[in-house]
């Protein structure tokens, strides 16, 4: 590399005041570097990944491009600086180009062996800069004046962006003076959003007055020795015992009765309305008000249609329950029943509300007080029985739905991220900085923001705000940058899963099972490797490990002990493995599979009534 080039590099570094010649991303306001537990630093690459993955226990250094903040604030709030808007836009572009230029010179020093590439890279970047400078007449003039002086002075050559940097520095100072007078502020806020979309503010040192969260370092090794794991095992054990004896159970006479009672109430409503309608029609023959009759007819038809539809829905559901009663072992029917329950009750809520409104309206049209009273009573009965029903169904289905939601999270993960963009509001605890006082950087230790789980998100928002000088009320807030970081455990770590698996012994000798598969409770301890690919971590999440199960192949009510190897996929929803019964007399080998099941459903008959 030539001596001249080396001199230029030093000059540029000194003028720009930054030593970061490493490859920089193109996002101008917020830049993040990740520092792991061992102090190793790496750049968070927002240009490669929209939502880059960081380690859940790392520290994030947030660097703010303060000069660009000032320029953007001046532009956004149309602060009248001694330069016009086109010039300001060009200056902003030049500032954005700065890091690329530094990269170009850094490349000359190290990365590239091919001189052609170096020349090409330098040329491309310089062309951009020069075209921008040519748009700013006074800057162009300044550059030319300086170059003219070089002809008379010493041989040392000054680079264009050295001149540009000084001029921009001068203009930035002018902008600062203007922005201070118009009271424009900068704010930086941070949020933690969990897998369910719940938001909480997090403390970014130096930028707000929130308290730090609980210090929590997500352990790399989690073994199933906690009380929670033990309770889960007991629940799995009960579920397995129940299933093995009686299959899946979804029997609840009271539940069925409630639905029937709703259907009966609807029948009553129908009878009452039909009578009223007939009476009104016969009144019409005696010369009553025709327009009133038409209104009543219309209302009656609407209510009729709704009642018929509701009765059909409830009948279909009751039939499904009856079918299931005859095929209790059918997992497919169980799933269909749960799904139908969820759909029915989500629709019933709005259907019944609509019917209630119609009945109320119809009530207004009648003059017969006994009919009014009867309709009011029917309305009340329907809503009362329905709310009792929904409470039960909600309890039954919530566990299933939460497991289903977790399993389907990888499908809707991106939607959740998109949804999470909303509602990140600043509170008064987030500090406001005058533009010349913005701190250049801060460090956010993720272990100090509280309990975190894999796939939780960190959202950073940078805004500029303008204050009305008279009223001191905030007039306008403009977001100038937003970054999202996904947290996952990276590298090697160990986790566990407790639940039930279905085992199928290969060797049937000594095995007295009634069905091909036996459901047994099990512990699985997995090893995993977390990567920087969010989709890999979220969708596949493979694990390999050991499985401990307690089958009872000889059906003597003394569970045996099975040890095996297991592979897990899709966030532990699916497990497959092989094992050996090491305690039973037959020492049968087996294979097994496991699915995350709604254990609340696998209960003894009648327990749902509790």
């Amino acid at each position: 590399m030539s001596k001249r080039l080396l001199c230029w590099m030093i000059l540029i570094v000194l003028i720009f005041g930054t030593i970061n010649t490493a490859a920089a991303d193109n996002l101008p306001i917020l830049k993040c570097n990740e520092i792991d537990r061992h102090g190793r630093e790496s750049k968070v690459n927002f240009s490669k990944h929209k939502y880059p993955v960081v380690d859940v226990n790392s520290t994030i250094e947030i660097v703010i491009n303060t000069s660009l903040v000032r320029s953007l604030a001046a532009k956004e709030f149309k602060i009248i600086p001694p330069i016009d808007e086109d010039e300001l836009n060009s200056i902003i572009s030049i500032l954005k180009l700065k890091t690329k230029m530094l990269k170009a010179f850094g490349a000359c020093n190290s990365s590239f062996n091919n001189c052609d590439l170096i020349l090409d890279y330098y040329s491309q970047n310089m062309i951009q800069l020069e075209l921008l400078v040519m748009k700013i007449p006074r800057l162009r003039q300044k550059v030319n004046e300086t170059m003219e002086l070089e002809l008379q002075g010493p041989a040392e050559l000054e680079q264009i962006f050295g001149i540009v940097a000084r001029e921009i520095g001068r203009l930035s100072k002018l902008l600062d003076e203007n922005t201070e007078q118009t009271k424009v502020y900068f704010r930086l806020g941070g949020w933690l959003i969990d897998g369910s979309g719940n938001e909480q503010h997090i403390h970014i040192p130096g930028f707000d007055e929130y308290n730090e969260g609980i210090f929590y370092e997500k352990p790399s090794f989690i073994l199933p020795i906690s009380k929670q794991a033990h309770d889960q095992y007991l629940q799995a054990s009960e579920a397995a015992e129940s299933y093995n004896k009686e299959g899946f159970s979804f029997s609840d006479d009271r539940f069925k009765t409630m639905l029937s009672m709703i259907a009966d109430s609807l029948e009553n409503a129908w009878d009452c309305l039909e009578q009223q309608f007939s009476k009104t029609r016969s009144n019409q023959l005696l010369g009553q008000n025709d327009s009133m009759l038409i209104t009543i007819q219309r209302s009656f038809r609407s209510i009729h249609t709704k009642i018929v539809t509701l009765r059909e829905k409830i009948s279909a559901f009751i039939k499904l329950v009856q079918t299931f009663q005859k095929n209790k072992n059918s997992f497919a029917l169980s799933s269909e029943l749960i799904n139908s329950t969820r759909i029915l009750f989500s629709e019933l809520t709005s259907d019944l509300k609509s019917l209630e409104n119609d009945l109320t309206d119809f009530n207004e049209l009648t003059k017969d007080s006994s009919v009014k009273e009867k309709l009011n009573k029917i309305n009340f009965e329907i809503s009362d029985k329905f709310s009792n029903c929904t409470e039960k169904i909600s309890r039954i289905t919530s566990n299933y739905l939460s497991i289903l939601s977790k399993a389907l999270d990888f499908v809707y993960g991106d939607n959740k991220l998109a949804f999470a963009k909303a509602n990140l509001e600043f509170t008064s605890k987030v500090k406001r900085f005058l533009l010349e006082d913005i701190p250049g950087s801060t460090r956010l230790d993720l272990r100090k923001i509280g309990i975190r789980n894999n796939s939780d998100q960190i959202h950073l928002r940078a805004v500029v705000e303008k204050e009305d000088q008279i009223s001191n009320e905030k007039l306008k807030s403009i977001e100038i940058d937003r970054r999202v970081l996904l947290m996952y455990q990276l590298g090697f770590h160990v986790g566990y899963s407790v639940g039930t698996v279905f085992v199928n012994p290969w060797d049937k000798k000594g095995v007295t099972l009634k069905s091909e598969f036996q459901m047994v409770p099990s512990y699985s301890i997995f090893t995993r490797w977390g990567t920087r690919s969010a989709s890999f971590n979220r969708i596949w999440k493979p694990g390999l490990g050991l499985n401990i199960a307690t089958p009872d192949f000889d059906q003597n009510s003394n569970p045996e002990l099975g040890l095996g190897l297991v592979i897990t996929l899709f966030c532990d929803v699916v497990q497959v493995g092989v094992g050996k019964n090491i305690r039973g007399d037959n020492s049968a080998s087996y294979w097994f599979f496991g699915l995350q099941l709604p254990l609340d459903l696998i209960v003894k008959p009648g327990l749902l009534a509790q």
């Binding site: 020349l119 090409d120 040329s123 310089m126 062309i127 020069e130 075209l131 162009r140 170059m147």
Partner: protein
């Protein structure tokens, strides 16, 4: 006018002019800016270009070629291939200068209607350095 990085093509010897021109374009590895004409604008362009030719990047050097008489090499100039830019071959009179890359293609053309200054000539050199 002191010119340290400029080669002035002779106007009285066409064969020598051709040889020098072809050697610079096709045989030697320089980033070239070729200035045409002998008027005030051309003289200014040469001065600015010569000043910017002091820079070398990654070992590659710059050079200015001054063809004071456009006619003497107009055929050879028109024979150059287009790169990022193309010469107005039917009206070379409008061209003050143009830059040529290592691959012997025209990368930038400066017309007499433009503002001729240090920055403009430096831009021409930089365009010559783009790999195409």
């Amino acid at each position: 006018m002191k010119l340290n990085h400029t080669l002035i093509i002779p106007t009285d010897d066409k064969i020598l002019a051709q040889k020098m021109f072809e050697s610079l374009i096709y045989d030697e590895d320089f980033l070239l800016v070729i200035v045409l004409g002998d008027d005030d604008i051309a003289q200014k362009a040469v001065k600015y270009a010569d000043s910017r030719a002091r820079i070398s990047i990654a070992g590659y050097e710059r050079k200015v070629v001054w063809i004071r008489n456009r006619e003497i090499l107009s055929k050879e100039i028109k024979a150059l291939n287009d790169g990022l830019a193309s010469l107005p071959k039917d009206n070379l009179e409008r061209v003050v200068a143009f830059s040529v890359s290592f691959s012997d293609t025209v990368m930038d053309v400066i017309l007499s209607s433009e503002t001729i200054d240090f920055l403009r000539l430096d831009l021409a050199f930089n365009k010559a350095g783009v790999k195409k």
